[in-house]
């Protein structure tokens, strides 16, 4: 039996069209060690390589047995680096082997899951009943890839590119796999985010998946190197690789993303619409506070790109600030490898922050403004001192440049963070069992019901606890921050005629009095390590302005009575982006 807790797996850093000196770019990543079944099939992922277009099941990946208790990486290149022919043969063999594709996609899904679990400090469930996510690496001949909640699956298509005359497999694109996995994970953390609601919520899934995809790729040093150098050799001085300072300003980094990695980022995938240019578009959108209100950015897939642009520019600003803190060589050069490390580190840190923010987001009717406050609050809890690199200020500035500001109500005007819970004196704790409050929904419901008046809950709605989740994070001081995150929802069914009397709002023009309306309230209660309420982040059921805005938007866009499509929701969204 091995004593290792992790195993290494070789993956493509980006996709097969991205090369350095003509060679594919691989990275070895660390994943939890597990006793894999052929597929691979592990405790969270089940790869089934069925191709519906060819009506064929491809042979699965078989894990290599450990050697002397040491886990083996089946696809690590072990030939001489100097033998270009051998290397090329190895690469071609991998690309032609569906088992490598299966391992590649498994590894990236597991890596993305690992990023979420690290950030949230707990196991993260998928958004459906069951523990294993199905993954079909070659599901059909189509230039699309999507998460299907109904099928508990990620389905990846493949297609023949007219540009390159080659077959393109979406399962080999690191950012596409990370993007789809994020949909599945976000669905598990916040099930309510796929319910028709606000324009921002409709856009958030796609925007957030873009953010995770981009940052998880950039957290790999080789991806950062590609972005900066385009794979070209750099100046050497005393065996230290150097890069001119002019190439690592904020503007220069954005440009090199467009021209470097952005250009090579799977050319056929971008041009033929699969990836929808998320990297390029995010870097190209010039900050403008008026964009959110413009007609163009009403559509969810366009609106999500604004969110991604705000985060990407924050990343670039953070990276630049870390570079500036380094010393220069001579007057004008930086150590390239330190610059790369700074970029990868900034990406990793920002990704962790972005994921942690989810625990501080309301469970329904999300707005970008609320997400920003969640982001700032989550980070300030873990790292109260932000003076070294100013992460939170740079995030605030970047989001503000796109017109996204913290909400006016419920936040601190200086920091933008959620205000702490201020009514603790009125809360009754002694009727509950502290231990059960850490995990038991019934226990927490009893607590919330007993304290409904102190919490200011409107008891007309049907209240239920959606989740009670632990969260353990380690701050920069090495100490653990332990919280319990409780998510609750209230549902209230009325008719159009009752809108005024019950929620104080006029029903939208043209809405019949007999129109059925479901109003939602909900919130997050964060308990500290002592079981005391730290935050109560709520969307009140009787919040007339929010209910009216939501109702008007859903009525105007014809979504009020629309049934959710658990299979095709993300497939259709991706198609809309591809056609834009």
């Amino acid at each position: 039996m091995t004593r290792f807790n992790t195993r290494k797996m070789t993956i493509l850093v980006q996709d097969p069209s991205v090369r350095i000196a003509g060679r594919l770019v691989f990275a070895q990543i660390d994943l939890p060690y597990e006793d894999l079944a052929p597929g691979p099939v592990g405790y969270r992922v089940r790869v089934v390589d069925f191709d519906a277009s060819a009506n064929a099941l491809y042979a699965p990946f078989h894990p290599m047995p450990d050697r002397d208790g040491v886990p083996q990486d089946k696809y690590a290149y072990t030939g001489p680096d100097t033998d270009a022919k051998a290397c090329k043969a190895w690469e071609n063999q991998l690309l032609a082997d569906p088992a490598f594709h299966a391992q590649n996609v498994y590894a990236i899904v597991m890596r993305t899951l690992g990023l979420f679990e690290f950030a949230l400090g707990r196991r993260v469930a998928w958004g459906f009943e069951g523990h294993q996510l199905y993954v079909a690496p070659h599901a059909f001949l189509e230039a699309n890839a999507f998460y299907s909640e109904e099928d508990k699956a990620l389905m990846f298509g493949y297609f023949d590119s007219a540009k390159t005359n080659k077959r393109v497999f979406t399962c080999l694109s690191h950012d596409i796999v990370a993007h789809e996995t994020t949909h599945a994970l976000l669905d598990g953390v916040r099930d309510g985010f796929t319910t028709p609601s606000t324009p921002d919520q409709a856009a958030f899934h796609e925007g957030f998946a873009d953010v995770v995809a981009l940052l998880s790729v950039f957290s790999l040093p080789k991806a950062v190197e590609l972005a900066l150098t385009g794979g070209k050799p750099s100046k050497l001085e005393n065996r230290i690789r150097l890069i001119p300072a002019a190439q690592v300003s904020t503007k220069a980094i954005l440009n090199s993303m467009l021209l470097g990695l952005g250009k090579e980022f799977g050319a056929s995938l971008d041009d033929e619409g699969v990836r929808a240019d998320c990297l390029r578009r995010s870097a190209q959108i010039e900050p403008d506070p008026g964009l959110l209100q413009s007609a163009r950015y009403e559509e969810p897939h366009e609106r999500g790109e604004l969110f991604a642009a705000a985060v990407l520019r924050s990343f670039v600003a953070l990276w630049s600030s870390r570079i500036e803190a380094q010393g220069k060589f001579g007057r004008s050069d930086y150590n390239l490898d330190l610059v790369i490390d700074a970029g990868a580190s900034a990406a990793a840190n920002l990704l962790t922050m972005a994921i942690r923010a989810l625990d501080y987001c309301p469970p329904i009717d999300l707005t970008f403004n609320a997400y920003l406050s969640a982001l700032l609050t989550a980070d300030s809890e873990v790292a109260p001192d932000d003076t070294k690199y100013g992460y939170r200020q740079r995030l605030k500035d970047s989001f503000a440049s796109f017109g996204i500001l913290p909400p006016e109500k419920g936040t601190d005007p200086d920091s933008g963070c959620w205000l702490p819970f201020a009514n603790d004196a009125a809360i009754v704790y002694q009727r509950n069992h502290a231990a059960s409050m850490l995990y038991d929904k019934e226990e927490v419901f009893r607590f919330v019901w007993e304290n409904r008046r102190a919490l200011g809950l409107d008891d007309r709605g049907y209240l239920r606890i959606c989740s009670v989740r632990p969260s353990t994070r380690t701050g920069p001081d090495g100490f653990s921050l332990r919280e319990t995150v409780c998510e609750y929802l209230q549902v209230f069914d009325i008719f159009g005629a009752e809108a005024k009397a019950t929620l104080g709002m006029e029903r939208p023009q043209g809405m019949p009095s007999t129109q059925r309306i479901t109003a939602y309230g909900g919130g997050i209660i964060i308990f500290d390590q002592f079981g005391r309420i730290k935050y109560h982040i709520e969307h009140r059921l009787d919040d007339t302005a929010r209910q009216a805005a939501r109702l008007e938007y859903l009525w105007r866009t014809g979504q009020l009575n629309a049934q959710q499509d658990g299979r095709n929701q993300f497939s259709n969204l991706h198609r809309s982006r591809a056609m834009a």
Binding site: V48, F50, D51, A52, S53, A54, N55, A56, L57, Y58, A59, P60, A96, D97, P98, A99, A136, H138, A139, F140, L141, E142, A143, N144, S148, E150, D151, A153, M155, Y158, F159, D160, A162, R167, F169, D271, E272, G273, D277, R281, S294, A295, R296, P508, G510, P512, R556, T557, G558, N561, A562, Q563, R567, N568, S571, N572, R575, S576, A578, M579
Partner: protein
């Protein structure tokens, strides 16, 4: 001739799921006839087989063997199938052709030589090429359905077939429209309509479709050639649909096959069935996207006389409307519409909520100047109530009936060829 018409009669023909309206503008001493659309994808259940021929003959008789104009709002079969000709020259389209319309009006996207125009902006050439490719995509979807529909349940296959067939190219109708009449006009938002001389006393505003440049002013730049997207879909469909029924598409990894279709191991069957279903639904998503793009090429006309406004928007949906509704002057102009030809057979998205809410002449039955709505549709053909996709939408029908004088072909008595709706001008 007197300078203004005194009456408009709309002959709303019973074409089932489709549109066919003959507009008669009556002047003191003469009349003018405009035919707006003539097509169907599903006649009413009690219609006879030669319904479309009967309608063509009726149009010929009513207009005294002379049409002033034909408007084909867009090239969906349910708007143009009636213009198809027959080899023996006795088709419904042949009859219309013989009426020698002085002008035939279509959206700018129908201009056949646009793709070959070397000086046209790339985007335009790409867009019109995309329309042709979309037809090829539709043909391949129908071919896929006819050859094998494994994994598709009947309901899904029906939906695919319905939308797919509506988007088939109908070359005969397209060619007939492009070659009939004295003059061809291809119009866009803000352009002359071509009816200026034919309808004295009537201002015909062209509110849609917008050109690509007009669209780009509200959506910034278009990032890719639209034809590339449809070409990609077409290649995939052609590969899929052309594969032999028994052998399916050639596997991506022929040397790595563990099992074929009917002999899958237990642990793969659950997902395999679901991927097959998802595949069918992917097709549906694709043809719906295609259908929507085609609807959004629709001509939108607003006829304005001294006292009345009559709106004919074809099947335009919100994307088509957006450019027009972005302008305050046009929003104001639409507020006091007197007659509204309900868009897209009564689907919800074709009547923009913002426009409907602002119609000032909605009202109660006793209101003297209550507006009139005209709808050509057939129930039970498109969508389902369960999924809130039924066409016509029940909620919209209720609003139309409650707030306008609604005339709908789906309520015409059996055997009726058309309803006459008289509008004093």
């Amino acid at each position: 001739m007197a300078k203004a018409p005194i009456q408009l009669t709309i002959f709303a023909y019973q074409v089932g799921f489709g549109d066919c309206f003959l507009l008669r503008f009556t002047y003191p001493k003469e009349v003018r006839h405009i035919l707006i659309d003539f097509g169907t994808t599903g006649l009413s259940v009690d219609a006879e087989n030669d319904q479309m021929l009967k309608i063509a003959k009726d149009i010929a008789e009513r207009c005294g063997q002379q049409l002033d104009a034909v408007v084909a709002t867009h090239r969906h079969a349910d708007h143009i199938s009636g213009f198809a000709t027959r080899a023996d020259g006795a088709g419904s389209g042949d009859i219309i052709r013989q009426l020698k319309p002085k002008v035939v009006i279509q959206p700018w996207t129908e201009q056949l030589d646009l793709a070959r125009d070397a000086t046209a902006p790339t985007g335009h050439a790409g867009f019109t090429a995309a329309l042709s490719t979309m037809h090829a995509v539709a043909e391949n979807v129908v071919s896929f359905l006819n050859n094998r529909a494994q994994g598709l349940d009947d309901k899904l296959a029906d939906q695919l077939r319905f939308i797919g067939e509506d988007n088939l190219s109908n070359k005969s109708a397209v060619k007939n429209l492009a070659t009939m009449g004295d003059e061809q006009r291809y119009i866009f938002h803000g352009s002359p309509s071509g009816l200026e001389d034919l309808l004295p006393g009537v201002t015909t505003h062209v509110l849609g479709p917008p050109t690509l440049e007009q669209t780009d002013t509200i959506r910034k730049q278009r990032s890719r050639d639209p034809n590339e997207f449809w070409q990609l879909q077409l290649r995939g469909l052609q590969a899929d649909a052309a594969a032999d029924v028994k052998s399916k598409l050639a596997p991506a990894f022929p040397d790595h096959i563990q099992a074929k279709g009917g002999k899958l191991p237990l642990n793969a069957r659950w997902l395999a069935n679901r991927i097959r279903k998802a595949r069918g639904e992917q097709f549906l998503g694709l043809v719906r996207a295609l259908d929507k793009q085609m609807n959004n090429t629709s001509v939108i006309l607003l006829f304005e006389t001294a006292r009345k406004k009559i709106l004919f928007p074809g099947d335009a949906q919100i994307e088509n409307w957006r450019y027009a509704l972005d302008q305050e002057a046009i929003r104001t102009m639409l507020e006091d519409v007197d007659v509204y030809k309900v868009g897209h057979h009564g689907s919800l998205n074709a009547t923009p909520r913002s426009m409907w809410d602002k119609f000032s002449k909605k009202g109660k039955p006793k209101d003297k100047n209550r507006m009139t709505s005209v709808l050509s549709t057939r129930t039970g053909k498109h969508g389902s109530e369960k999924s809130n996709t039924e066409v016509p939408r029940t909620t919209l029908l209720k609003e139309l009936a409650a707030q306008t004088h609604l005339h709908s072909t789906h309520t015409l008595p059996s055997g009726s060829l058309c309803e006459e709706i008289v509008i004093p001008l």
